[in-house]
């Protein structure tokens, strides 16, 4: 009863001093807006990082990396075999904790061309079909390699849409989607037949933008001035660019047509660039890695010229970064909320000094000190909560503004949680800020208060 009434009186008090209340609330409004905005930016970053993470092959992918032999094996360094097909065969047959083993033989200095056009590529690799699942590729057109292609080292390839865009033209330029399956391109001068093409990979944000652009009438599309390079820190965007600019050929093709001739020195180089593995059971990741390690130590005659890198490290990194960003962002926004709280305390102190007589009357008709205390506290909290809700509105605008000023792959995402925390925190700030004025008001002696002019 008294609480409802106090809220009503509080609202009346706020309404009676509109400008003053608004100025007081400004601190809270900005504090909440920056808290929610900060959380939204960080959430956007997180989403972008996770998307990129998945674009790179998901969390259960384990990379085998070269490493220089440990110091105590220094004398064996020249015998280090590097990763070869021997390892792949051994892993496939002797490591049951692994689900997938995907060898990759990358070609470094090739050129991709068709007619007078040349294309950039992210990786031009000889692979097994296992790579599809390993790198989470989806074949949209044509087919992937079969055993015969592998066996006969046929000059066939599967490309990403990025390479199609550069050699055959983008759908947005040619006006139709070119599907170059059956067409020929040159890899370092050797003709290869394109047998398949992946789907186009893009982040959530980009696909939204595409959909928006498609909904607009043609002609309005490019009205937005020169195109800008998008992508924050080249993280999310980079991962998708990379995936779209992939070109795969059968492993055997890469070996026979390129690597067996050596890398410019005429000495055949059978070493694989990568052996990526996926474990059967993510919960037994450590065991699986240990098993793979045992197998590979055998094939490497005990020379430890390899190591495993799990995406867990990456996830840990991502989480650490996000945690740091959250902490520092939250701290800064918290300070601005605190400043808002001090503003409220200031105004409440001024307000009770103006209302000494009013408080005296209330006490004369029977208000206890606690009633008055509650009244002032609630007024202060109401002020802060209204400020908090206004701050939520401002934060929407704020996030939109950020989106316009710095377009990026990682659009800020306002989360309900952040909003809840911000409003709760502002209410708390309001209550805390109200305590001192409320105690002061509750202590007024009724006679003094009534005499006060």
């Amino acid at each position: 009863m008294i609480i409802v009434n106090s809220i009503a009186v509080g609202l009346k008090e706020i309404w009676a001093h509109k400008v003053r209340s608004l100025l007081t609330m400004l601190g809270i409004i900005l504090g909440v807006a920056s808290l929610v905005g900060m959380a939204a930016i960080i959430k956007g970053m997180e989403n972008g990082m996770k998307e990129a993470m998945i674009a790179m092959g998901g969390v259960d992918k384990v990379l085998t990396q070269n490493q220089s032999v440990p110091a105590w094996q220094d004398h064996l360094a020249d015998q280090a075999p590097g990763k070869t097909m021997v390892d792949v065969m051994a892993l496939k047959s002797s490591a049951p904790l692994l689900r997938l083993v995907s060898p990759e033989m990358a070609l470094d200095d090739v050129t991709l061309s068709r007619g007078d056009k040349r294309a950039d590529y992210s990786e031009c690799v000889g692979v097994w079909p296992a790579v599809l699942e390993m790198n989470l590729h989806t074949l949209e057109h044509g087919r992937f390699f079969n055993d015969l292609d592998e066996e006969l080292a046929r000059p066939v390839c599967v490309i990403g849409t990025g390479i199609r865009d550069e050699l055959w033209g983008k759908p947005s330029e040619t006006g139709r989607e070119v599907i170059p399956v059956g067409d020929t391109l040159l890899i370092s001068g050797q003709p290869f037949v394109v047998v398949g093409m992946f789907q186009e990979y893009m982040g959530e944000q980009e696909s939204k933008e595409r959909a928006r652009a498609a909904a607009q009438p043609p002609g309005a599309r490019d009205a937005g001035g020169p195109k800008r390079q998008k992508g924050w820190g080249r993280r999310g965007g980079w991962a998708f660019w990379r995936k779209n600019h992939t070109i795969y050929m059968p492993l055997n093709t890469a070996w026979i047509r390129f690597r067996s001739a050596g890398r410019g020195d005429g000495i055949p180089d059978p070493r694989l660039t990568d052996i990526d593995i996926k474990v059967a059971d993510f919960n037994r990741l450590e065991d699986a890695i240990q098993q793979a390690r045992n197998v590979m130590l055998l094939t490497h005659q005990g020379i430890e010229d390899f190591t495993f890198e799990t995406q867990e490290n990456q996830i840990e990194n991502i989480n650490k970064q996000i945690k740091n960003a959250r902490l520092s962002g939250g701290f800064i926004a918290g300070i601005s909320l605190l400043v808002g709280g001090i503003g409220i305390m200031n105004i409440m102190l001024a307000s009770i000094n103006e209302r000494v007589r009013e408080i005296g009357i209330c006490k004369a008709v029977g208000a206890t000190g606690f009633n008055i205390f509650l009244q002032i506290l609630i007024e202060s909290a109401v002020l802060a909560v209204i400020g908090g809700f206004m701050g939520l509105v401002v934060s929407e605008l704020f996030v939109d503004l950020i989106g316009v000023l710095t377009p990026s792959q990682n659009t800020p995402v306002i989360t309900r949680n952040a909003e809840l925390v911000a409003v709760a925190f502002s209410a708390m700030v309001g209550v805390v800020a109200g305590i001192i004025p409320a105690i002061k008001a509750a202590r007024f002696s009724p006679i003094e208060a009534l005499r006060y002019e």
Binding site: N5, C362, A364, G366, A367, F370, L450
Partner: protein, 242 residues
């Protein structure tokens, strides 16, 4: 036992080392249903007496018993509850809350008494009917005349159905005619059986009450019978003379 009992009550203030006895060893009984005026010039201690009688203040020494409650021992919260349930105040400057309308002002004591919303409204309307202001419910105090404001204040004092009504110079800010209307209202309340205590410096107003308590320099000076009051004034006028 009397409704209000004061026994050897003193209120002492210290101002810069100097001791001021606003009330000096006052003993006094007021019975339920009495219509009493406390009269005295300004600075005589009558306001202090009213504050102590009205539980707005506690005495330095001595005992005050109000309806069986020992006021000098009560906590601030208990005093607030006593003021809320047993006492109604009417002030010289009306002391209505300017931001609330008439009904809300009258409802205020009931909010602190924890009365439910509907009952509050009913009782407030009833109290306002008593002071003949049933038609100005939604007005703000600033939209009312002085007399109307004072009637709202009286309605507020009545609304919790208290045993005692204190009026501190209730006509001090009103013209003579309005003042008489207000005094008539108090007389009516007294006739209905309420204890009404008028505090004033004006002997003419004190003259309306059957019992008068005169305060001078913090002490009760004399008790004057109402029937003699008129004569008093006549003789005072005669001796003052030109």
């Amino acid at each position: 036992m009397a409704l209000l009992e004061l026994r050897n009550v003193s209120k002492i203030y210290h101002l810069g080392g100097e001791e001021i006895r606003a009330l000096d060893d006052v003993s006094l009984d007021i019975d339920g249903g009495e219509f009493v005026s406390i009269i005295g010039p300004s600075g005589s201690g009558k306001s202090t007496l009213m504050h102590i009688l009205g539980c707005l203040d506690t005495p330095t020494c001595g005992t005050v018993t109000l309806d069986g409650i020992e006021v000098q021992r009560a906590t601030a919260t208990q005093l607030a509850q006593v003021r809320n349930r047993k006492i109604g105040f009417v002030f010289q400057f009306f002391n209505l809350l300017p931001k609330l309308n008439v009904v809300q002002n009258v409802e205020l004591p009931m909010i602190y008494a924890g009365v439910s919303g509907r009952q509050r409204r009913e009782q407030a309307l009833h109290a306002l009917e008593l002071v003949e202001l049933g038609n100005r419910l939604k007005n703000r105090p600033s939209q009312l005349s002085g007399g109307q404001q004072q009637r709202v204040a009286i309605a507020r004092a009545l609304v919790n159905n208290p045993r005692i009504i204190f009026a501190d110079e209730p006509t001090g800010n009103l013209d003579t005619h309005t003042g008489e209307v207000i005094l008539a209202l108090f007389r009516k309340l007294s006739q209905e059986g309420r204890t009404v205590i008028l505090v004033t410096h004006n002997p003419e107003i004190a003259a309306v009450t059957p019992r008068r308590i005169e305060i001078r320099n913090g002490k009760i000076a004399e008790k004057v019978d109402a029937r003699l009051a008129g004569l008093d004034r006549v003789s005072a006028a005669a001796t003052a003379g030109p």
